[in-house]
């Protein structure tokens, strides 16, 4: 066994470069031509296909699969991208097992759906080195501000640009892409795909990207409303929930979203430091991703602790299995009580609790060199339209209560917090904005 793995504390380079490259390679390797044809042949070309209904962006799945099977992957890509301009990323990150592939009739028939996600990737990968397939309508002279360059903002901006409007896409970070760039697990977006996809998307023209500009810090909603014909808010959930009840931070605790962002931006995984013993607190996709990637970086013991039962975890069974297969230990029904230093390590104390969070009185503690908290993200901005349950209240087509302002993606009420939902909401709002600007 490699000594680096046993080394106490938080350290870089626990695994050698080959192991790291292997660990952070594609979770689902792409299909080659032959595999794609075999997979495509399984599609029944269903009428009013259930897979299509299950896709938040309503991609015409039977049509694009038929286009693959008849040897026209670029036509397939266009079918996908006309509904979902981030079809390439969605093919990599969508939890297909709870979306299209769950609904696939071959799932009903033989428990083995058509590999829609992989086929979507096959088609869209063909498009990435091709000329941009969409063009802009005649210029309308209208100007729209889109705040937040994540999936929702990018999707909205692209559709508005197609309709001939001039879009300014603001983002508080120094790079566009949102969680595609900073959040999604590294093994879902290899080879800098998030960045390449944004570059490809911007080829439509008419979108000017302004990074380092934050709503609430320099940019004001009132100012934007005055300067632009419409505003679309897609700022995601920038804040994170704190572990302690009074909102203060516990010592030794890092927020998992920041850890993942650091990892995603690292050009060399051997430079990302990781503990020998890692404890992740939370039960959603972020918790799983932090735990799995800790393991892939070479942490010896990774324990994910969730306060309720397994069936209440937001991470899908597929994600839970993935974590288990990588060696992450999952403990459920245990709520964190606090953190103490003991020698060179932290001790995280937990108390067992039932599904309604009633403590049983039994306690245990886990040693940790690193503690990641992943107990949910929240809206983090001022000057927003009317909120509802911590999100921007939106009605039909993403209209907020403030005239001329739309919102979509994670920051807006309704819909699951998924990349594909954000893309759908961005496109739908763009169509509504376009209709209003034309009217």
């Amino acid at each position: 066994m490699n000594n680096q793995l046993l080394k106490a504390g938080v350290a870089c380079g626990r695994l050698d470069l080959t192991e790291l490259a292997d660990n952070f390679s594609d979770l689902h390797p792409p299909l080659d031509d032959h595999q794609a044809l075999v997979a495509a042949d399984r599609c029944y070309f269903c009428h009013d296909a259930p897979c299509m209904t299950a896709c938040p962006t309503d991609i015409d799945i039977p049509l694009f699969i038929r286009q693959i099977s008849t040897g026209t992957p670029l036509a397939a890509a266009k079918t996908i991208l006309s509904q979902n301009i981030l079809g390439g990323m969605c093919a990599r990150v969508c939890p297909t097992e709870t979306l299209c592939e769950q609904a696939c009739v071959r799932n009903t028939a033989e428990g083995d759906p058509v590999e829609i996600g992989l086929l979507q990737r096959f088609a869209t990968d063909h498009m990435m080195d091709q000329p941009h397939p969409f063009s802009r309508a005649a210029a309308t002279g209208k100007r729209v501000a889109v705040i937040g360059a994540g999936p929702a903002g990018l999707s909205c901006a692209h559709r508005l640009a197609m309709h001939g409007h001039d879009v300014t896409l603001f983002d508080g970070r120094d790079k566009a892409g949102g969680l595609n760039e900073f959040g999604i697990a590294a093994y879902k977006s290899v080879d800098d795909f998030a960045h390449r996809e944004v570059e490809w998307l911007l080829q439509i023209g008419g979108i000017s990207v302004k990074t380092g500009q934050r709503l609430g810090e320099g940019l004001s909603l009132e100012g934007l409303r005055a300067d632009y014909d419409a505003v679309f808010l897609s700022i995601g959930l920038g804040g994170v929930n704190a572990l302690s009840r009074d909102g203060g931070e516990w010592p030794g605790v890092t927020n998992a979203v920041d850890f993942i962002a650091e990892l995603r931006q690292a050009s060399d995984m051997s430079q990302v430091a990781i503990g020998r013993d890692v404890v992740v607190i939370g039960g959603g996709m972020t918790a799983i991703d932090a735990a799995v990637q800790s393991k892939l970086l070479g942490a010896l013991n990774v324990t994910l602790v969730y306060r309720r039962g397994r069936e209440r975890m937001n991470a899908s069974p597929f994600e839970q299995d993935l974590a288990a297969s990588k060696g992450v230990q999952i403990i459920t029904n245990a709520a964190p009580l606090g953190v103490q230093k003991s020698g060179d390590q932290w001790q995280v104390e937990f108390e067992f609790s039932d599904d309604d969070l009633n403590p049983t009185g039994e306690r245990f503690s886990l040693p940790a060199d690193q503690i990641f908290s992943a107990i949910g993200q929240k809206l983090n901005s001022s000057e927003l339209p009317e909120l509802d349950g911590g999100k921007i209240l939106v009605g039909e087509a993403g209209r907020t209560r403030t005239p001329g302002v739309w919102a979509g993606g994670d920051c807006a009420s309704g819909g699951e917090d998924l990349t594909v939902t954000a893309v759908a909401e961005g496109r739908i709002a763009a169509e509504d904005i376009n209709a209003q600007l034309a009217g």
């Binding site: 044809l37 042949d41 029944y44 269903c46 009428h47 009013d48 259930p50 009739v105 009903t108 028939a109």
Partner: protein, 434 residues
């Protein structure tokens, strides 16, 4: 007891599965392997007259069409008859027959349409000890341009003439292999019978262009930029072959003539169907060329198990059972009414039945908001399209509406009596009308 034991024209073989005259039977090496794998008999690759052997193209000679998952459905070829020396073939035939006395070995022949040519080769074949000959009047490409193969098979008078020469000069059974590239197969079959043939075998391959290369703008297979039509075979041609076999089996003039059925036999079931239509045995080419000789094992076990399940002890027990059920359209009972029924437990809700019926047929399937598909009895004409497009076997079936019940589509009570077109009131030629 071997239930599959076959006796065709007095030639016995352990099963009714013979390899058709084609590449699988081209030489000793292949035929020995075929017999070891379990084939009941072979028809040796067609021999031509003595002299410089036939030449084949040196480019591709096959083309194909495929179904889902690239399953080969139809094969097209431009191969000619054997391109090996006549005497080499005859020696090999002699050796193989001596080593496999229990297997059927038939020699396929194609020589120019002259009496002398046939009477020269037949004694040579007789000496090999082979069990019989098959006259290749079917090859539709290449040889036909030289006045042989299907060029003979398309002229009943020639068939009769050549068959008669062969019967005169050869002592063992003579099988005439027919081409499907004609309008009515009964005429060549009758000609073979008049010439004294012991049996007919059919079908040989069908004239075809299997695809066009859209870069070269030339038919496939393409040889130096060009392609010629080829012969089509494999699963795709089975329906055509079955129709022709049935036509001969139910023609009063040829009903008593044994038939060796060929064309798309791929599984035991295909073989059983041909035999039920009246064939005495079957010949196989494409299935062997697609999967190798081992496929015969499935054919043997499948046919045996099916016969066991039906209580049949010999092929004769079911041979021809379906022949009398093949009739003309005018004899079909128009008073028989059925409706499609969807088994909701089997339905996977793909909606294919719905869209097929809605767009292209009778708008007789209802689709609910919950994707439950049900047949509207008042619209269903029982066309069977939904059954054919449904991906789940046995999910949609046709249920008879019993006499006495009302057909909701027509509002009429179903009657028990047979009533066909010959007596139908709408038939201007209705014999019973006045």
């Amino acid at each position: 007891m071997n239930k599959l034991a076959s006796n065709f024209l007095g030639i016995s073989s352990p099963n009714p599965f013979w390899l058709a005259s084609a590449p699988p039977t081209d030489k000793e090496y292949n035929v020995r392997r075929a017999f070891e794998a379990g084939w009941g008999g072979v028809v040796w690759k067609t021999l031509g007259a003595e002299g410089p052997p036939i030449v084949n193209v040196n480019g591709p000679r096959y083309g194909a069409i495929w179904g889902a998952d690239r399953r080969l459905l139809g094969l097209n070829n431009i191969e000619l008859i054997t391109d090996r020396d006549l005497y080499t073939n005859l020696e090999e035939i002699t050796r193989v027959k001596a080593d496999y006395p229990d297997r059927a070995l038939i020699v396929s022949l194609m020589v120019p349409c002259e009496e002398e040519a046939w009477k020269t080769i037949l004694p040579l074949v007789e000496q090999t000890g082979a069990d019989g000959i098959e006259l290749n009047f079917g090859c539709p490409h290449g040889m036909a341009e030289r006045g042989m193969g299907s060029a003979v098979g398309q002229v009943p008078e020639y068939i009769e003439m050549v068959t008669r020469w062969c019967k005169e000069a050869y002592s063992k059974p003579v099988i005439v292999k027919l081409t499907p590239n004609i309008t009515d197969v009964r005429y060549p079959a009758r000609a073979a019978k008049s010439g004294g043939a012991d049996a007919v075998s059919l079908i040989n391959t069908i004239n075809s262009i299997v695809s066009v290369d859209l870069d070269a703008f030339a038919p496939v297979p393409t040889i130096d930029g060009k392609g010629s039509h080829g012969g089509y075979c494999g699963p795709a041609v089975k329906p055509i072959a079955m129709h022709m076999v049935a036509d001969i089996a139910r023609d009063p003039e040829t009903a008593d003539m044994p038939i060796s059925a060929i064309g798309g036999v791929t599984t035991w079931r295909d073989a059983a169907e041909f035999i039920a239509l009246g064939a005495g045995n079957v010949q196989v080419c494409t299935a062997a060329m697609t999967y190798g000789f081992k496929v015969v094992q499935e054919m043997i076990s499948g046919l045996t198990d099916w016969m066991d399940s039906k209580g049949y002890d010999s092929l004769a027990d079911f041979q021809g059972q379906a022949t009398p059920k093949v009739c003309d359209w005018k004899d079909l009972n128009l008073n028989y009414v059925s409706k499609a029924v969807i088994d909701q437990d089997k339905c996977i809700q793909c909606g294919r039945c719905y869209i097929a019926c809605e767009d292209t047929s009778h708008q007789a399937i209802d689709m609910s908001d919950e994707r439950i598909f049900t047949v509207k009895d008042d619209e269903c004409v029982a066309c069977n399209l939904c059954v054919n497009v449904c991906p789940v076997e046995g999910c949609i079936t046709m249920k008879q509406i019993a006499p006495g019940q009302v057909d909701e589509r027509t509002g009429k009570t179903v009657v028990a009596e047979h009533g066909d077109w010959t007596t139908h009131p709408n038939n201007p030629a209705n014999i019973a009308a006045e």
